[in-house]
């Protein structure tokens, strides 16, 4: 059994930021492994440690900068990595779900995995759609928002729990090959060990262009464009209690007493 894990390097905004050309300027961004993908990587590594999977391969659409994040997944225990980038992608104003699934399905054709784990969503764009769209494009079965996974390799079935709203889980049997989108909390992602970090430097990281995957640029010509980005207007005006910790705590305490929720 081979598992392919989609790994995204996401951008996070720390503190104040400025928007130009419908994007947040890179100086205001920190980059990190997408939180949901971290759980997906861990789930695959655990399955390998339990002898259910032979090889764990990560695939990332991203520029050279993303290799730091990719090495992190390798350091945790993935066997090898694929990174796809191209000048065409660099110039795109929006990498739509379709663009991603077109690229990733070409990788599936090359790699022929039995199981694909992706995060439920990414922390920056939060489409939450790439995994399921990819499954359909590749002819795989799928399950979205999985928070428990039990692989039956002999039967070729993934027994999963899907986390529905309101504290209800759906228990489902999914025939493989399948794409499962992994929810946070499914496991406890490990930290990379120093040995792992050293070994990761030696693991294969194969960089491919659209040409290498035989994808014609026009295949990525989807009719979506990001035409605006702005900070949303706040809907409510919160009263901010000013002062140091003692003063603000005092104001909060008085408020709670006046409300009558605290008697002390």
């Amino acid at each position: 059994m081979k598992a392919l894990i989609t790994v995204k390097e996401i951008a996070e905004v720390a503190g104040d930021f400025k928007i130009s050309n419908n994007a947040i300027a890179p100086t205001y961004l920190d980059y990190d492994l997408n939180e949901w993908d971290n759980y997906a990587v861990e789930e695959a590594i655990q399955a390998k440690e339990n002898g259910l999977i032979n090889e764990v391969v990560t695939v990332t659409i991203g520029p050279k900068r993303a290799e730091e994040t990719i090495r992190m997944a390798l350091a945790k225990g993935a066997d090898r990595a694929i990174r796809i980038w191209d000048d065409t992608l660099d110039e795109a104003n929006l990498l739509s779900v379709d663009t991603k699934t077109t690229i990733l399905s070409a990788v599936i054709e090359d790699e022929d995995p039995n199981l694909i784990l992706s995060g439920v969503q990414s922390g920056d764009e939060a489409n939450g759609a790439t995994g399921v769209a990819l499954a359909k494009k590749a002819g795989f079965e799928w399950a979205a928002v999985v928070n428990k996974l039990d692989l039956d390799v002999n039967e070729g079935v993934a027994h999963v729990h899907r986390e529905l709203e309101g504290g209800v889980e759906e228990v489902t049997d999914v025939e493989m090959p399948a794409v499962l989108t992994i929810q946070t909390g499914i496991n406890e992602p490990r930290y990379a060990s120093l040995l792992g970090i050293r070994q990761a430097q030696q693991k294969p990281l194969n960089v491919q262009t659209l040409d290498d995957l035989s994808i014609d640029e026009t295949a990525l010509d989807f009719p979506l464009a990001r035409t605006a980005m702005y900070e949303p207007a706040t809907e409510a005006e919160a009263t901010i209690w000013e002062g140091d910790a003692e003063e603000t705590a005092g104001k909060l305490a008085n408020f709670l007493r006046e409300k009558g929720v605290v008697e002390a």
Binding site: K136, A143, A264
Partner: protein
């Protein structure tokens, strides 16, 4: 075509609220496109669902009889075939756990783009979708430059459609290929049970990622003790196993409506806000003045919780 096709959602024999919200979103769109508003309801007690969905401005309701509960392989085929027949300009689907389990597949089958989690829609010949990125810190507008698109609609962003309509209720019989149904739901489980019911509490003190370490939770537990509040949390705390699932406020946890809700170290992600925005008074303590939680809070303290909480404990005779 300028029609809109919207898909209803139900679970355990009940239509979910998003079904009537999506009617409102669709109604607003056809006011601009000039087309008809079609609805579809698939599986379960479709006749009763159709009667309930027959609200003002709905032109046609398509019912698909197939099984009882949601199955994504069935929904993908049924919606795919209905949309291929109707050729709507816009296909509206719920941005729910089940919606996101079939909407991307339908879009792939129809070879149309998908944009998820819409918070606003407008149309002036082309469709423009407003959505959030970076955890709600920015909004973006995405233009669909040509043809049809599948859009998933964020729950509770649109009001529920009211009024009684005069829709034409039609039976749609898709050709469901059973050999392609490769997922089988075996059962449902309630996972947020236990003795504590946070949805009953009048005063909740809720903690999030800002608490940093499990070792810091006793500090909050002491505050909960001296104030007589009930302890709840956002998702990461439960993901880490620091508190049980029945303490989780939000989309996948409980919906709470206390008199006072204090959010400590909670950024205010949309999934969390969905579970607590009905609180009477919301107070946020967070060191990031840009945290989205301040957008819905009534009162706020911008500061380090590890400085504010000990002071607060002292106020109430603890610490």
């Amino acid at each position: 075509m300028s029609d809109v096709l919207a898909i209803a959602e139900h679970r355990d024999g009940t239509l979910r609220d998003v079904s009537c919200e999506i009617i409102t979103a669709g109604r607003e769109l056809i006011a601009e496109t000039g087309g008809d508003l079609h609805l579809a309801v698939i599986s379960g007690d479709i006749d009763s669902f159709a009667r309930d969905l027959d609200r003002e401005s709905v032109d046609v309701i398509h019912t698909v009889a197939y099984g009882k509960e949601f199955n994504h392989d069935v929904y993908t085929q049924a919606v795919g075939q209905l949309a291929a027949d109707l050729e709507p300009q816009v296909l509206l689907l719920p941005n729910t756990v089940n919606g996101l389990d079939y909407a991307p597949a339908v879009a792939t089958v129809l070879d149309i783009p998908i944009i998820t989690d819409a918070v606003d829609l407008s149309y002036d010949g082309n469709l423009t979708v407003t959505r959030e990125e970076y955890g709600g810190k920015v909004e973006t507008m995405i233009d669909v430059e040509a043809g049809a698109a599948a859009i998933t609609v964020r729950p509770t962003e649109w009001p529920q459609a009211a009024g009684t309509g005069d829709a034409d209720i039609r039976t749609f019989e898709p050709d469901i290929d059973e050999s392609t149904i490769k997922s089988t739901v075996t059962k449902f489980e309630e996972v947020a049970g236990g003795e504590v019911d946070i949805s009953e509490a009048d005063f909740l003190i809720s903690i999030g990622r800002g608490i940093e370490e499990e070792e810091n939770i006793p500090l909050i537990e002491e505050l909960v003790d001296v104030t007589g509040a009930t302890l709840s949390s956002s998702r990461p705390i439960v993901d880490n196993g620091w508190l049980p699932k029945n303490r989780q406020v939000g989309q996948s946890g409980k919906v709470v409506t206390p008199e006072v809700y204090i959010a400590i170290g909670i950024s205010g992600a949309v999934q969390h806000v969905a579970g607590m925005k009905g609180s009477e008074t919301i107070i946020a303590i967070n060191n990031d003045p840009n945290a989205p939680i301040f957008d819905i809070a009534d009162y706020g303290i911008v500061g380090d919780l590890f400085e504010v909480i000990p002071e607060l404990l002292e106020e109430f005779g603890g610490g």
